[in-house]
């Protein structure tokens, strides 16, 4: 029984009460992933599970046996930042920084969802697989990540920047 966390095999905890979030923070000392509300309301604990964004606070670690988790530490490190991490720095995508790891993990998967054609609440044509990265689409798709400092404009700018770079 093991979970892959940023490429390393990790033992599934014996106690099924351990959340994925507590395994990451308390068990593996990966403190990038944050505990905001611990009840699925803020998005600060967002991680990637086999590339999909999920909330680690509402997950029992034992459910992830055999699956692959990527945290903010797995996306990039100082000196080798993920393009979106770099864009957050350049566009002031944060103030206090507490929501930032969740915002970045969420946005990385959000971009993939749009490319896959997953519709959102503001998508007008459900039968089209081509979805614009419009301002409204991005705001709706990122609504599960709260930023109490209100750095939303910088966050959207940072995401736009990396999309532009990827398109070039």
């Amino acid at each position: 029984m093991s979970i892959s966390v940023n490429g390393n095999a990790v033992q599934v905890p014996d106690d099924p009460r351990v959340s994925l979030l507590d395994l990451l923070r308390d068990g593996l000392h990966l403190h990038g992933t944050k505990k905001g509300c611990n009840q699925g309301a803020c998005g600060a604990c967002t991680v990637l599970v086999d590339g999909e964004r999920m909330l680690s606070c509402l997950s029992l670690a034992v459910q992830f046996d055999g699956r692959s988790i990527t945290t903010i530490e797995g996306l990039g490190e100082p000196g080798a930042l993920h393009p979106l991490q770099q864009a957050f720095v350049e566009h002031d995508g944060f103030q206090c920084g507490y929501c930032t790891p969740g915002q970045i993990c969420s946005a990385v998967a959000m971009v993939e969802e749009v490319r896959r054609g997953v519709p959102s609440h503001v998508t007008s044509d459900l039968n089209s697989n081509v979805i614009d990265f419009s301002h409204d689409e991005m705001r709706e798709r990122m609504s599960g990540n709260l930023c109490r400092c209100g750095a939303y404009n910088g966050i959207i700018d940072a995401i736009n920047e990396t999309l532009k770079e990827a398109a070039e």
Partner: protein
């Protein structure tokens, strides 16, 4: 959290066998159950993880769609068959929760969601008949802005939180259930219960029953369906009122119609009176308004939620107008 055991079900029979033990609950994405366990409102002694069971979405022989109960909400919403034939269902799912939660939550688990009534969640400070039958209901004279206007009882005025279930109700979905006595199916409009004097019993499931699939019947009306959700903020909030509807017009008259309401009752509310009032009538604002009135005549309001009657009336009329092509 109170200690519990954890096991994965390898197939439906294995799940039924493991779930037969008293105090056991089935675990889907965990987005609601894990939270309630952390608050010790849910206290299972064992969890049987059923996320490994069927999550397939396939066309049935008669042209409907079968959705395995372990299908994630996102998988349903992005499926071409659902988007093209049952747009109300895609619209309803994407109106609910956040992308992270929709990636986790299963269809079966969505049906089993429990109310977000604040008094239900406030285990230490509030009276709640849903948590403890006979305890009383603090919502009756408390903050009841988000509470029910239809089908409530003096024991409970909480509302069902799901968006998906409202669309399923308008689309005549069937819930397939496996239990120790074999398999059976229920129309979704009969799956959830009104509170009566036992608001703690929310569905028709018997202990040990497992939801295995949701079936959408073949339907010509469903292609012209939609879902509208009215809430306090533009995204990531529960409904104050929502409407799922499907409409078919022939020669200017309503040939057939389906309407279900969310945010107004203890269960997804099928508006059969409104539907009956509308069939055969000339499609237009007058008939849409009369249909809404017919349904809402039975509304009973409380200090904080009287606005919901007018809100529901206007939302019903607006959604039907949209589905009629806005030409009326």
């Amino acid at each position: 959290m109170i200690p519990f055991s954890y096991a994965r079900a390898s197939d439906v029979q294995d799940a039924i066998a493991k779930g037969a033990l008293g105090g056991t609950k089935f675990l889907g994405g965990g987005t609601n159950l894990v939270d309630l366990m952390r608050e010790t409102i849910e206290r299972p002694t064992g969890l049987v993880d059923v996320t490994g069971l069927s999550s397939e979405i396939t066309e049935t022989r008669d042209g409907g769609v079968m959705i395995g109960a372990a299908a994630r909400n996102t998988a349903v919403t992005e499926h071409p068959l659902i988007r093209s034939r049952y747009p109300a269902l895609t619209r309803a799912i994407v109106a609910g929760a956040s992308a992270q939660i929709r990636n986790m939550a299963t269809v079966g688990g969505n049906l089993m969601q429990r109310t977000r009534c604040t008094y239900f969640y406030d285990g230490e400070g509030s009276h709640c008949n849903k948590r403890a039958p006979g305890d009383g209901c603090d919502a009756l004279s408390g903050f009841n802005r988000s509470h029910a206007i239809l089908g409530a009882s003096d024991a409970c005025i909480a509302v069902h939180p799901s968006d998906m279930c409202v669309a399923l109700t308008a689309l005549d979905a069937m819930v397939h259930i496996e239990g120790s006595d074999g398999s059976r199916s229920l129309p979704i409009k009969d799956f959830h219960r009104l509170p009566g004097d036992r608001p703690d019993i929310e569905t028709m499931l018997q202990p040990g029953d497992l939801i295995t699939a949701i079936e959408l019947p073949a339907s010509s009306i469903a292609a012209n369906s939609t879902y509208r959700k009215v809430r306090d903020r533009a995204s990531y909030a529960f409904a104050l009122v929502s409407v799922a509807a499907a409409l078919e017009i022939e020669n200017g008259n309503v040939r057939d119609v389906r309407i279900a309401l969310g945010g107004v009752a203890h269960k997804p509310w099928r508006a059969e009176r409104a539907e009956a009032a509308l069939r055969g009538k000339p499609a237009g604002e007058a008939a849409f308004l009369a249909a809404a009135e017919a349904e809402l005549a039975a509304a009973r309001t409380f200090e904080g939620n009287a606005f919901k009657v007018e809100l529901a009336r206007r939302t019903i009329v607006s959604v039907l107008t949209e589905l009629s092509g806005g030409a009326v």
